[in-house]
């Protein structure tokens, strides 16, 4: 990319750039390039006089190209776009390739959110997000942005659920995809409605099938436990399911520590302390010994009446 300077640009002749004042011997000082240094000097000057103009848009685009992690530049650009009533679709078109080359950047996603909020339409966004997630299937900012999008535009749709399912199919250990599914189905209570029984049953069946593929995968176990907790249903079915993977009386026949964990909780609830202790002992000594302190702590809790109640 050719360098760009402003001091000999007639369009900027009226601006006296403000040099960076870092005081004497600053720490973490950066030997900026002349190009970056000058561009920032003009931005500081433009900001000092609250200028929101086309040329400021060009300047912010330039600086973002040099340093995309510059929140000030993004925020000032957003304000400029707003003041100018700029074409926001054009802004999104410019943002797409920029986002792809800065996957881990916070600001870019917040900027996008600001723009889409103003545009008032999620058109094309789901596809774009899917492209981003192909590069990095667990990117926190991208998933968070998708959750915002769903909530803002009410996209609690079949299509969204199917897409999430395809992400889980691709990698049943993608915890971000499981979280998104939870968000869609159980997350934000909408109009105060409870999740209907048909949906709950469908989810239980789905997650159980996922656990059978890899019983030591904690993501679907958390999802399953979450369902029982949120819907406050009897844990009898959960117990039956967990027993498929672990039986405290058959220590040679155990192939999910998470099933043992579930059983320990249910036995404690049922006041079957000995069974609960067996499960916790198996975890502490054999099936999850790195967390022995934790499982032993759970054993101590069993004897504290207020916890068992």
């Amino acid at each position: 990319m050719p360098q760009k300077f402003y001091h000999d640009d007639p369009e900027w002749a009226d601006i006296e750039p403000i040099a960076q004042d870092d005081g004497p011997h600053p720490l973490a000082a950066i030997a900026y390039t002349d190009e970056y240094s000058e561009a920032m000097g003009y931005l500081r000057a433009a900001m000092a006089k609250n200028e929101f103009s086309e040329r400021v848009l060009g300047l912010t685009e330039h600086i973002i190209g040099l340093n995309a992690a510059h929140y000030t530049v993004w925020l000032y650009r957003a304000k400029t776009l707003e003041t100018l009533n700029a074409d926001l679709k054009q802004e999104i078109a410019w943002l797409n390739p920029t986002a792809l080359s800065h996957l881990k950047n916070y600001q870019i996603w917040h900027h996008r959110q600001t723009i889409i909020e103003k545009l008032g339409s999620p058109e094309g966004e789901s596809d774009f997000i899917s492209t981003m997630l192909e590069q990095d299937t667990k990117n926190y900012h991208v998933w968070s942005y998708r959750q915002w999008l769903v909530q803002r535009f009410g996209l609690y749709t079949e299509e969204e659920l199917n897409w999430t399912e395809s992400m889980i199919e691709e990698d049943v250990r993608n915890n971000s995809a499981w979280n998104h599914r939870w968000f869609l189905v159980f997350g934000v209570p909408r109009d105060g409605r409870e999740v209907d029984e048909y949906t709950v049953q469908r989810e239980i069946a789905y997650v159980q099938e996922a656990i059978r593929k890899a019983p030591q995968n904690q993501s679907p176990w958390n999802y399953l436990r979450g369902i029982f907790k949120q819907t406050k249903r009897s844990t009898e079915d959960l117990k039956t399911f967990a027993l498929e993977f672990a039986n405290v009386n058959k220590p040679d026949d155990i192939f999910s520590s998470h099933a043992l964990d579930v059983l320990a909780d249910i036995y404690a609830e049922e006041q079957k302390k000995d069974e609960a202790k067996k499960a916790l002992d198996l975890l502490a000594t054999k099936f999850d010994p790195i967390r022995a302190n934790y499982w032993n702590y759970r054993k101590v809790l069993l004897d504290q009446p207020e916890v068992a109640a």
Partner: protein
């Protein structure tokens, strides 16, 4: 390691058999890595025995992208957990000693100056200063030689309308504000304290408060749990009033205090998994968990606030699940990879949680092993995981993690109120952890404040200084 057949078609017990027979994946890896070596040293044998003792016999056969990167990670980490590829001196437990001098040198170099390609750091300079100051003090260094420079570096980053930005002319941001204040707290001189404009800070924090209870990071910026934590850190250390400034936008919606709806908001960040997310609906994440717990631990005594606003058993279960096995270090989210910075983000949650729920619930020794064996870079500085380059961030937070492993804390609410948001000034050292340690005296780092992550004692001095200043804010009485 792929299994072609569909595991769901098998009965549980036949699958178990297969699981057990191939479950020694870890050992296989380490064995093959060491095939060429003639004999194992005594230490290597001991380390292998340890790893075997904490590894679960259960492992799924199904391969997915997540298990593939996990296997890759193990291949990178195991040689460091077993042997000593960096040729460091070993401590009496056969683990690498803390490479104090090398880390000090690395952190001093990390204070700059930096070449032009570091422009991407331009908005994070306060962080760099904080990580280096905190890291150096954790290593026992006197940082007074930097005092004046810390103060002058931040004076131009302070925004005329309040708060700190990443540098001169940058908009105020709560992350920059947090890092700048903590750096000045570590310096701890009167000049450092006095350089903070409390009046404009108060008004800036008022502008960040949102109606739903949370805080945005910057004007029109994102709202997440970092904002809530950083804002409370500033309010508490600077002894600012809890009453919202008259011009705070949230006042127009009936809010009057910085704490209004805040507990509810943090509570909404706890997910079905038990962990805490950046904002309601997002995925539970170790760094946000620390921010959430830190926020609650400033709002009041952890025993009260954490138990009031969170499902503590679910939280403890989730936090415990973040310890990677057999690596011993922490990861940030379900099915993600071990990373040295979570030594602090997750490791730092424990003192706060233990103050609320009882002690002895996590594995300190395993974390200590990961930090000493796998997170120290040969030439100094600490890393995410073997194969990565060191940086000030991972150095600071691995060292903080080592401190969480090495010291026990207790929270004792003494008599006499110190005013608003005084909860975090009641922490006391409860001695060194001694049970199954893997470090010698020479590997000890300094004590770190459980909430503020600065040398213990520094936050208390800062708060005391501001308590002695008269508060005047035009229009707030």
């Amino acid at each position: 390691m792929a299994s072609a057949q569909d595991p769901t078609s098998q009965t549980p017990s036949s699958r178990l058999e297969e699981t057990l027979s191939t479950s020694a994946r870890v050992e296989e890896l380490s064995d093959s890595d060491y095939e060429e070596m003639e004999t194992l040293t005594r230490h290597e044998e001991a380390n292998q025995a340890y790893l075997k003792s904490i590894t679960s016999p259960i492992e799924d056969l199904l391969d997915t992208a997540s298990s593939e990167v996990q296997d890759e990670t193990l291949r990178a980490v195991m040689p460091f957990l077993i042997g000593n590829p960096n040729d460091f001196d070993l401590n009496s437990y056969g683990l690498p000693t803390l490479q104090r001098e090398k880390h000090v040198k690395f952190l001093k170099q990390s204070l700059g100056p930096f070449p032009p390609q570091f422009a991407a750091m331009d908005a994070s300079r306060p962080w760099v200063v904080y990580w280096c100051m905190q890291g150096l003090t954790a290593l026992g260094q006197d940082i007074s030689e930097y005092s004046d420079r810390v103060v002058s570096t931040f004076s131009s980053a302070q925004h005329p309308e309040g708060g700190f930005g990443g540098g001169h002319g940058q908009l105020p941001h709560l992350a920059a504000t947090y890092a700048a204040i903590l750096s000045l707290v570590i310096v701890g001189t009167e000049e450092a304290y006095a350089s903070i404009n409390r009046q404009t800070m108060y008004s800036y924090l008022g502008r960040m408060k949102q109606v739903d209870g949370g805080f945005t990071m910057s004007p029109n910026g994102e709202e997440d749990i970092r904002g809530a934590f950083c804002a409370l850190v500033a309010l508490s250390l600077l002894n600012l009033p809890l009453e919202l400034p008259p011009d705070a936008p949230a006042r127009q919606h009936g809010l009057t205090s910085f704490l209004d709806n805040l507990g509810e908001w943090v509570s909404r960040c706890q997910t079905y998994e038990g962990g805490i997310s950046a904002a309601p609906g997002n995925e539970a994440h170790g760094a946000y968990a620390f921010c959430g717990l830190g926020c609650l631990s400033i709002m009041g005594p952890p025993k009260d606030t954490i138990n009031k606003w969170l499902d503590v058993p679910a939280l403890i279960n989730w936090l415990n699940s973040r310890q990677s096995c057999p690596e011993g270090g922490f990861h940030g989210r379900g099915n993600k990879l071990v990373d040295g910075c979570y030594s602090h983000w997750v490791g730092g949650c424990w003192a706060l949680v233990e103050a609320a729920a009882g002690k002895g619930i996590w594995n300190r020794a395993a974390l200590g092993r990961y930090i000493l064996s796998a997170a120290q870079f040969k030439k100094g500085g600490l890393v995410d995981k073997p194969g990565k380059r060191p940086d000030a961030y991972h150095t600071c937070y691995n060292l903080a993690g080592l401190s969480w492993a090495q010291y026990d804390w207790k929270y004792e609410k003494s008599e006499g109120e110190r005013g608003e948001l005084d909860a975090p000034y009641h922490w006391q050292l409860d001695g060194e952890y001694t049970e199954d340690v893997v470090w010698d005296n020479g590997d000890m780092v300094n004590r770190v404040h459980p909430v503020f992550v600065v040398p213990f004692g520094k936050a208390e001095s800062c708060r005391k200084w501001f308590e002695e200043q008269t508060w005047s804010s035009k229009g707030t009485g």
